[in-house]
Each structure stands twice: as C-alpha cells, then as structure tokens.
C-alpha cells in the first residue's frame, strides 16, 4: 500500500495513466466511465439525426431532405437511441459504477467479462456506424419484415448485425449483475437492505438475460433471409411476416422495461436523499420492479392489435398490459408519499427526478390509451405513439439518467459541478421536452401517421411547435453538457458525501473511490435510506 504522504489519496482515476491502463482495465468504475464516453458519443449521433429531421418536419412539405434521406435519419435516430443509448445508459454507466459500491463488493463477479461486454458494445456500435456511413439504413428501428428482409434497399445486414452483437453486451452485463448481487454482497447487506437502485438493476438484468437472446436470433433470421435468401418471414416462400413481429416484440416490449426500470432505481435514490426520508413502502417499490419485469414478458401483443393477430389473443394482451400499470402506479404513489413531511431540496438531480415523475406519469397514463383496444386501433402508428414513448423514454428514462448522472457525478469524478447552471439546464430540458412532445399527442390524436415527413397542412402547427421545443430542449442539453464537462476542470473537490446521502458508496468510499473501492472492510448494520442516522451528516 502507498505510504501516507501530503499528496491526495490515490483513487481509481489516478491509479495508472497509460492508455492501456484504461483499455485493458477490469475495474468496474473505469469500465463505467468508458461506457459513459461511448454512450455520449452515440447519443450525440442520435441527437444530431433528431435535430436534422425535426428541421424537416417543421413544415408540411418536403423542403430539405429527400424521402430516402428522411427515412434514414429517423431510422438512425431510433436504432442508435434505443440500442446504444437507452438500453445501456443506466446499467452500463451507473450500474457498472455503482452496483459493486452499493453492495460493498470490490468489483463485479466477472471483471474480465465486464470489459468484454464494453468491447462487444463498441463492436456492435461500429457495425451500426458502418451501416450508417456506407449509405444508411431505412427500415425503422423495428426492422419489420418483409420490408427489411426482402425489399429494403439499404444496409440492413450491417445494422442488424450491429444490434445482434450489442445484444450480447446486454446479456453478459445482466449475467454479471445478477451473480454480483446474489453472491458478492458485504456482510450484513441483506436483500431487504439493498438500495432500490440494486433491485431495479436486478429486475433489468433478468429481462436482459431472458429477452435479449430472442431478439438476437430473430435479427439473425432476418440477416439470413436477406443475405442467403432463406425463407423464414418472406410470404413469397410461405413465411409469415407477422411471426417476425411476435418474436421482435417478445424482446422489444420487455426492452422498454430494460430502459425504464434502472431509471426507477435512480429516482428512488435521489428522491430519498433530497427529501431525507426513507422511500415510502420500500418493499412494494422493490417487488413492483420484479412484478413489472415478470408481467412485462406477456404483453408484447399490444403492439399488434391491428396486425391481423387473433382478436382473442389481443384481449389477453390488453388485460395483461393494464396489469403492468398497477405496480407502476404503486411506485408513483410511494414516491409522492416519500415527499410527505420531508426536507425537500430542489437541487439539480431533484429537479430532474420530480420532472421524471410528472413526465413518466403522462407517459404511463397515455399507455393506458394504447392498451385500450378500440382506442389503439386509431392511435396505433400515429404521432400519439411517438409522443407516448418519448414521454416514457426521454421524459422518463433520460430525465432519470440525467438525475443519476448529476447525483453521482461528484462520486465518479470527485468534482462538484456548478449547481446554478445545472438547475437552469434541468428546467430548460423539462419545459423544452414538454414543448416538443406534447403537441405530438394532438397531432397523433388527429390522425397523423408516424414516419411521415410530408403531411397534411392541418398537422403543421403541432409539428412546428414540436420543432421549436426540440431546439429549446437542445439548448438545455448543451447547458447540461457544458456544466458537467467544465466541472472536471474547474469544479471544487466534492468530498466524501456532498449530498449527505445514505448508502455505502457515499459513506464508506472516497470521492472518487479507491481503486479497490473500500479501504477498510465493509460491514452493514443499518437499513436502507435511514436518514435519521446522524453518522451520515458528519463531515469527514
């Protein structure tokens, strides 16, 4: 061990400065940061695509892009954002960084596998980028057959392979987390003492392991059909294109929960800290994550009410979809109840978190519209659906992601960001988001189909508002980005526990943590979120 000197304590960032000490690291914290870099890069690509097509969509006629260009832009936005940002963001970055720290372990169970997962993710991303650079892909992120497997005139094989490959990164990360959470908890860290973030990661990992392989094989079948001419989904050879949709949504609906459950975890942590209260109904919140993960596997057919699947199958899918709504409602009620008689501080992460609850609420309630079969027939494949899933994915997941990033930023990098500008960014993003997506509900209700860049003029006011809102939100994101990045150079040292939060990562690890996480043995003797424990308020 290092001799005590006047120099600052060594931490995981300073232990090794060579490029290979990063690229070959098996330290979960460094891998988390590498995910952050990779993911930010993909996010910027996806966001650029959105900025471009929002410009086109402002008016009802085609004035900037040709049809094919527009189709490639929205497909690129969808594929990049779903598979390379939303799915890996919280597990890849925050999950990797925090799971071992929160349960008092030195690392995840399989550190080398963890590094391999990052490389697989980047390799998948490279394939997808290559597909984009070599002429793009225009199938939409859903790769529906037979368009994708026979008719499309774009790089389906490359992009499909990219998504196929990156799927294994999710599977292996999920496997790693489940084993870590089961076997690596510190003495005294019982299941009912686990932070809710861990419960959320656990539920997410189960879906990753059981769902992702199915989309992997499904996309592989599309690739085979397209490249070799096999007949699987092609109606010309007797195939059933609707079977593809079943297999696709068997994964891709649970994938929605892969995206949002980790966000639930983040929200629980931040909410408890900035209201200084234990999460109300801890057990209900913990088990509702598992319930959502379990029921979520049996609702995929609600994407297919108009697809010619049997009406009676539709009934089952519809009723099960409502059942997912119940544990979700419970979570929201418990979060709000947590605020009751708390000591609420509207810090930047808390603004994101409260924004999350409001926006996710709208996203969830509009989900009920889509679960209602008769309403779905009208709203399906319109801008209503686009608005709904952006409320869940961006209003929900992205807000939670930014809440978590701000919340744990001092722990990850040891620096405080500028609180004022962080709050400004949060508020602008919240309002910009609503400006962007609320009008889309109306456009969709009025019948505007999605994936149209040329549309009837009666939808133009809503699309125009949406475009203005999107750029407004873009300004918020830039402020947020600049605030965080500049903190690396100018930020004040964070100290061990700047928020006075509970949890091992705040109370037993330094900021940034030591290479081996904890410098002294970890033993847990308190319940989760015990904000009455005076020890967390003492300066160290």
């Amino acid at each position: 061990m290092n001799e005590p000197t006047s120099k600052p304590k060594p931490n995981y960032l300073t232990s090794g400065n060579t490029v290979s000490s990063w690229l070959l690291t098996v330290d979960h914290k460094r891998i988390g940061l590498m995910y952050l870099l990779g993911m930010t890069f993909f996010f910027l690509i996806g966001a650029t695509a959105a900025a471009l097509f929002r410009f086109e969509l402002a008016t009802h006629d085609a004035n900037v892009f040709a049809n094919d260009t527009y189709n490639r832009l929205f497909t690129m936005h969808g594929i990049i954002m779903v598979f390379f940002f939303l799915i890996p963001a919280v597990p890849g970055v925050l999950g990797n960084f925090l799971v071992p720290l929160m349960i008092g372990a030195k690392d995840v169970a399989f550190p080398r596998l963890n590094l391999a997962s990052w490389y697989i993710y980047m390799l998948g991303g490279t394939f997808t980028l290559a597909a984009i650079l070599l002429g793009g892909i225009d199938t939409g992120w859903t790769f529906y057959t037979p368009y994708s497997s026979v008719y499309a005139d774009s790089n389906v094989i490359l992009a499909g392979s990219g998504v196929f490959i990156t799927g294994f990164s999710s599977i292996l990360t999920g496997l790693n987390f489940i084993v870590t959470i089961h076997k690596m908890r510190a003495p005294g860290m019982t299941w009912m003492r686990l932070p809710l973030f861990i419960w959320a990661q656990y539920a997410t990992s189960i879906i990753n392991i059981l769902g992702t392989p199915v989309i992997a094989i499904t996309l592989l079948l599309v690739v085979f059909e397209r490249s070799l001419g096999f007949g699987i989904f092609d109606p010309q050879k007797g195939g059933d294109p609707v079977l593809y949709q079943h297999l696709f949504w068997f994964y891709s609906h649970p994938a929605v929960y892969i995206m949002i459950l980790p966000g639930f975890g983040v929200v629980s942590e931040v909410l408890a800290c900035f209201s200084r209260k234990r999460i109300y109904g801890y057990e209900f919140v913990a088990f509702s994550s598992l319930a959502i993960a379990a029921i979520g596997f049996f609702v995929w057919g609600h994407h297919m009410f108009t697809s010619s699947q049997s009406e009676y199958a539709g009934l089952i899918f519809s009723i099960l979809t409502y059942l997912v709504g119940i544990p979700t409602a419970i979570k929201i009620f418990n979060w709000v109840a947590t605020l009751y008689k708390g000591s609420i501080l509207l810090s930047a992460p808390m603004i994101y978190t409260l924004g999350f609850i409001g926006l996710f609420l709208v996203g969830g309630l509009t989900g009920l519209f889509l679960a209602t079969m008769a309403l779905n027939v009208h709203l399906h494949d319109t801008y209503f659906v686009v608005a709904h899933f952006h409320y869940v994915m961006v209003g929900g997941m992205m807000m939670a992601w930014l809440a978590g990033l701000h919340f744990w930023w001092p722990k990850m990098l040891g620096k405080m960001y500028n609180e004022f500008w962080a709050r400004v960014g949060a508020v602008i993003i919240f309002f910009g988001f609503n400006f962007t997506f609320y009008p889309q509900f109306i456009a969709g209700y009025m019948g505007m189909p999605r994936r149209y860049h040329v549309y009837d003029i009666e939808y133009q006011p809503f699309q125009m508002l949406s475009t203005v809102g999107a750029y407004f939100m873009g300004v918020g994101l830039i402020i947020c980005f600049v605030t965080l990045v500049s903190s690396i150079f100018k930020g004040k040292p964070a100290g061990k526990n700047p928020w006075k939060a509970t949890g091992l990562e705040w109370n037993q690890a330094d900021s940034p943590p030591d290479q081996h996480n904890f410098t002294s043995p970890v033993k847990v003797d308190v319940e989760a979120y015990d904000y009455t424990d005076e020890r967390i308020y003492q300066d160290t």
């Binding site: 489940i178 690596m184 094989i217 085979f224």
Partner: protein, 233 residues
C-alpha cells in the same frame, strides 16, 4: 491440501475480488447457469418459429422429414451422446487429479465431435446436390423429384408442398446454430486442454472442465431435440 480454508487464506486460483473460494465457486456456477438460461431462450426463438410453421405446413414438414437420412441422423445422435459420456469421464478424471486422463477424454470428445461434423457435412452436401438449399441452391423441379423419391410408400407427392422452403431454411438455421455452438465448444476445449497440460487444475479446482461439461451437455440436448423435430416428425 489443507481443508481448513479461512477467509485470509488466498489460493493462487482465487481471484482477488472474491472474499473466499466458496464465493468464487458459487458465483461462477450461478453465472454458467444464467448463461444456459439465455442459451435456452436463444434456441427458444427458433423453436417458436419451428412450432408455428410446423402447424401451418404439416405437409411440408412430413415431406421434408422423410427426405432426411434418418440413419445418418441416428448415428450422429449416438455419436453426440457418446461425446457426452466422454466429457463426463473428463470431469471425473479431473476430480481424481488425473491429468492424462483428462486430456485423453477431451481428445475422445473432440474426435466424436469431428465425426459428427463429418456426417453433417455429408448431409449438407447431399442437400446441396439435390438443390435443396433455399436461396443459395434451390430448384423446384429437382426438389420435387427428390421429395417424391424419398416419400413413404403410402404418400404420393405431386407438387411441392407449401412452406417447403421454410422447412429447409429452418433446418439449416437450426442445425447451423447447433453446429456453431459445437465450433465454439471446440475452441473452448482446446483452450482448456492447454490449461490442463500446463497443470492449472487439480482435484480442488477444475471449474473450467466442469462448466465445459455443462455446456457440452447443453449442446447435446439441443441436438436431441433437433433430431426428432427435423428428421422424425
């Protein structure tokens, strides 16, 4: 070997982030079972597609299955079951610290695997000759002729049954994915054999061999499902 394993005693094969050997063993065991779970779902997608189309196109399935060489399929099934036995013997040898026997049984396993590939290659080759490979080498007339030749005596095939290309597509994808898993198994086997030869394992520590055994059994079991589904239905 001392059996009084304490937390402080650090075996050379214990990785530093685990508290003790037991934690490491349990973790890797849980990990390999979770990996199996995802493998089951991976093949599960294929079996789901198989089931749907089997119900839609029973005639294509009947004609397709009777065109298969059941004898070769049977031999391959026996060969794979044999390789499962030999890998059990390898694990058994590992338990008894018998390095030579481990290598021997691995070699037997690989040999049986190679026989399987050889037979599979013959079967693929026959299908190629009969122009029964959808997309790559397919000829309706030739395919019809082959199916008629192989049809059971009481069945007369006058035209290509609907969905026949799907049957063959699924045949190639399913057996191909299975073969790919065996190829990966071959790679793993060589790696483990090298480690064994270097003396990395002993009777207390041989997880790689044990988990390879699990993996190999899984691959066998997939075949044991594929054989009746594709050859005998």
């Amino acid at each position: 070997m001392s059996h009084a394993v304490t937390d402080t005693e650090h075996k050379p094969y214990q990785q530093h982030h685990f508290e003790n050997m037991e934690q490491q063993t349990q973790s890797t065991l849980l990990g390999i079972w979770l990996f199996m779970a995802q493998e089951i779902l991976f093949f599960g997608g294929l079996f789901a597609a198989y089931t749907i189309y089997r119900i839609l196109y029973p005639a294509a399935w009947a004609a397709g299955a009777s065109s298969q060489n059941v004898f070769l399929g049977m031999v391959n099934t026996i060969v794979l079951i044999g390789s499962s036995v030999s890998i059990v013997m390898a694990v058994h040898s590992a338990r008894h610290d018998d390095r030579k026997a481990i290598l021997k049984w691995f070699a037997v396993t690989l040999l049986l695997g190679t026989v399987f590939f050889g037979i599979k290659a013959i079967e693929y080759g026959t299908k190629w000759d009969h122009q029964l490979v959808p997309g790559l080498n397919w000829n309706n007339e030739h395919a019809l002729h082959t199916l008629q030749e192989h049809a059971p005596k009481n069945v007369e095939i006058t035209e290509l049954p609907k969905g026949i290309q799907i049957y063959y597509s699924l045949y190639f994808v399913m057996t191909g994915m299975h073969a790919l898993h065996m190829v990966i198994g071959f790679g793993l086997a060589f790696w483990i054999m090298a480690k064994t030869a270097k003396g990395r394992f002993n009777s207390e520590y041989y997880p790689h061999i044990e988990y390879f055994g699990l993996y190999w059994h899984f691959v066998d079991i997939v075949w044991i499902f594929l054989f009746p589904l594709l050859y005998l239905v």
